[in-house]
């Protein structure tokens, strides 16, 4: 209640000179207004960015075979084949930070339906887990292929929207057969549209199929992971199908008995895959996931001591970090400018409070004579400065919010009202009041009552 009375006194003191109070607080108004506008616009654009990143699979890690080099000549990433589907399973099993993992085989070749053809960006051989990893589980039509399809190497596929458009001219492709390198694949599902990713890569221009099918029927030899579209033109010459895929379905990997495993700890390598795609539990655990995967793979690949990894792990976080850093940088830069404005505003407050203390020296002396203690005077002037700043802060919030709404309606920028920003603005302006009001208030509280009363 005492504070309330002090605040009332402060209001009364400020009302004695409303014009001066207005001008004094202008710096705070502009500073807080700028902070609010920046925070709201920044929050809007980062929300949009987050959505874009989520559509790309923000928590996704891609593990690629390492670089082969011979006599100092590096052949580039993926030039050795060191990853196996078992690696993928081991990662899923042994890394707690990993939510899901799937082996990936990539092909790039011509796809034919009727008299139309198209070379999609990528034909991915994978497992159903891929859809979960990519946050793509909900299909536009049909259903995803199953683990069983993967085990059997069934010729089924899921099409991206671009292929539906290019090959089927928008008609439903479900149940139709498309041919990839002369092998017929039954279309069992259609992906929902995802649009281009941040690099302009059309994410809908893909075909998903069981990796076993792609591996053994499309890309053929395990070492050939290179771009296939060139030899696709000569597709007639290839593919006598029967000798390219294993005759037995069901188990690609022969079961090992416990004794066999003990006898032969080196796992038998049946197949190389192009990469492993894994999803971390959340973006915060990505670095932990990378550590765990590195540990698992080094152990599985028997890499000792300081020997370099024979694989490398890339993650979207790197990329998205770069992109979000740019927006964050811009926002922070503008925030810094706003902060400078707040500091300038604070100095203005300090200046006016000093003038006010000098002007009211006699009043201070009188208040002390009738029993005000130093701390009462300190509080009075501090509250006055805070009231001044909070008034400015309130006006600044209105101004900044209005500004960001204007930007939303005139420029159609994404804007997000942020209660945190408003709370921060209130705190910051009160803080500015306390910090810059303290010195004048302290000076007032240290006055000697006799001298103050005698002051002309």
């Amino acid at each position: 209640m005492r504070l309330y009375a002090t605040a009332r006194t402060a209001f009364r003191a400020l009302r004695r000179n409303p014009m001066r109070a207005m001008l004094t607080t202008l710096g705070i108004v502009i500073g807080v207004g700028a902070v609010i506008a920046m925070m709201e616009i920044g929050a809007g654009s980062s929300a949009t960015l987050k959505k874009t990143i989520a559509s790309m699979g923000a928590n996704v890690l891609v593990i690629q075979p390492g670089t082969a080099s011979s006599g100092g000549v590096s052949f580039g990433a993926g030039s050795t084949t060191t990853l196996t589907p078992e690696d993928s399973q081991a990662i899923l099993r042994e890394c707690p930070a990993i939510r899901n993992a799937t082996p990936m085989v990539r092909a790039r070749t011509q796809v034919v339906y009727g008299n139309r053809n198209w070379v999609p960006n990528a034909i991915y051989g994978t497992t159903p887990a891929y859809l979960e990893v990519q946050n793509w589980s909900i299909l536009a039509e049909g259903e995803p292929f199953s683990e069983r399809d993967v085990l059997n190497g069934n010729r089924v596929c899921i099409l991206g929207q671009t292929l539906v458009r290019e090959l089927f001219e928008g008609a439903s492709p479900l149940g139709k057969d498309i041919r990839i390198k002369n092998i017929a694949f039954r279309v069992i599902g259609v992906l929902t549209p995802k649009g281009a990713n941040m690099m302009g890569f059309d994410q809908d221009d893909v075909i998903l199929a069981p990796w076993t099918t792609i591996k053994y029927r499309v890309t053929g030899a395990s070492l050939s992971t290179s771009n296939q579209s060139t030899d696709a033109t000569a597709s007639t010459s290839v593919n006598t199908l029967s000798n390219l895929y294993p005759a037995t379905h069901g188990t690609l990997y022969p079961e090992q008995s416990a004794a066999q495993q003990a006898d032969n700890p080196m796992p038998v390598r049946f197949a190389n895959i192009d990469s492993i795609m894994a999803a971390a539990n959340n973006s915060g655990e990505i670095s932990m996931a990378i550590e765990q995967i590195t540990g698992v793979l080094r152990e599985r690949h028997r890499i000792r001591g300081d020997d370099p990894d024979d694989f490398n792990i890339r993650n979207m976080a790197e990329l998205t970090k770069t992109l979000s850093t740019t927006t964050t940088l811009m926002t922070n830069l503008l925030l810094a400018v706003a902060m400078i404005s707040l500091v300038v505003g604070g100095v203005g407050i300090m200046n006016i409070m000093l003038v006010s203390v000098t002007e009211r020296t006699r009043e201070i002396g009188l208040r002390m004579a009738v029993g005000a203690r130093g701390r009462d005077i300190l509080r009075q002037f501090l509250v006055e400065a805070v009231v001044l700043c909070l008034t400015g802060g309130a006006m600044g919030i209105i101004l900044g919010h209005g500004g960001s709404l204007l930007v939303k309606f005139l420029l159609h920028w994404p804007v997000e009202t942020s209660p945190a920003a408003i709370a921060a603005a209130v705190l910051v302006s009160a803080g500015v009041g306390i910090i810059f009001g303290f010195y004048p208030a302290w000076k007032a509280s240290r006055l000697d009552p006799i001298e103050a009363l005698r002051y002309e």
Binding site: M1, R2, A5, T6, T9, R12, R16, R362, E363, G365, L366, R367, M368, A369, V370, G371, A372, R373, G374, R375, D376, P449, I450, L453
Partner: protein, 242 residues
């Protein structure tokens, strides 16, 4: 019982290297209910003594007992609380807050009391106080809308709002004409006789001093004479401390 007792109070100002003694051993006893005038030539140290009596300043040496409490060693916060509860001040230049109504001026000291009156109670008490100094119809007036005498009466009401036993007035009539001076002095006499408030005032004017029951003459930091004003026939013992 003595309300105020000074024992060899000294006050020395330090001006650089030079020590300027202003009060040179003042001993004095003042009883409850006295109406006392402090006179003397300019620069004799009256205001300095008043400031010490009013707990605005501390003596350089000596003891000051107020209401059986040694004051000269108190901290500034303790002295502030003491001023608030036990002492009232009236100044030559009124010292009212500008652009603040009479009633708010009078209520102002209440915001520093420990008892924490509500806003309504405070205003009620201020209105009563203003009525007692004859300004019941001027509650909402600003100082600039009041005459000098009225302003000084507002100041008296403010000094009395906490019902202090002692009222200090440093040349309370210095800025007033003789007629309004007379009004203010009559008010002092009434407060003194009716409410038993001890009043200590500094004045140059013998006519003003004539209203007092006891007059102390100072010169150059010492008490020259301590007596009832001429013709009153009363004698008060000076220099309280034995």
């Amino acid at each position: 019982m003595e309300l105020i007792e000074l024992r060899s109070i000294e006050k020395t100002y330090q001006m650089g290297d030079i020590a300027v003694p202003v009060l040179k051993g003042i001993s004095l006893a003042i009883r409850q209910g006295e109406l006392l005038a402090l006179t003397g030539s300019s620069g004799s140290g009256k205001s300095t003594l008043m400031n010490i009596l009013g707990c605005l300043d501390r003596p350089s040496a000596g003891e000051y007992w107020l209401d059986n409490q040694e004051i000269s060693k108190l901290s500034s916060d303790e002295r502030a609380m003491l001023r608030n509860r036990k002492l009232g001040f009236v100044f030559q230049s009124f010292n009212l807050l500008a652009r603040t109504s009479a009633i708010d001026n009078v209520a102002m000291p209440l915001s520093y009391t420990a008892e924490n009156l509500s806003e309504r109670e405070a205003r009620k008490r201020a209105a009563e106080m203003l009525a007692r100094v004859g300004l019941a119809d001027r509650l909402g007036h600003y100082p600039s809308q009041l005459s000098g005498g009225q302003q000084q009466r507002v100041a008296i009401a403010r000094a009395l709002i906490n019902r202090p036993p002692v009222l200090f007035a440093d040349e309370p009539t210095g800025n007033l004409d003789s007629k309004t001076s007379e009004e203010v002095l009559q008010m002092f006499e009434r407060l003194n006789t009716e409410d038993g408030i001890t009043i200590i005032m500094v004045t140059h004017d013998p006519k003003v001093a004539g209203h007092a029951k006891r007059v102390i003459r100072m010169d150059d930091g010492v008490i020259l004479a301590d007596a009832a004003p001429a013709g009153s026939g009363r004698e008060t013992p000076g220099g309280g401390a034995p």
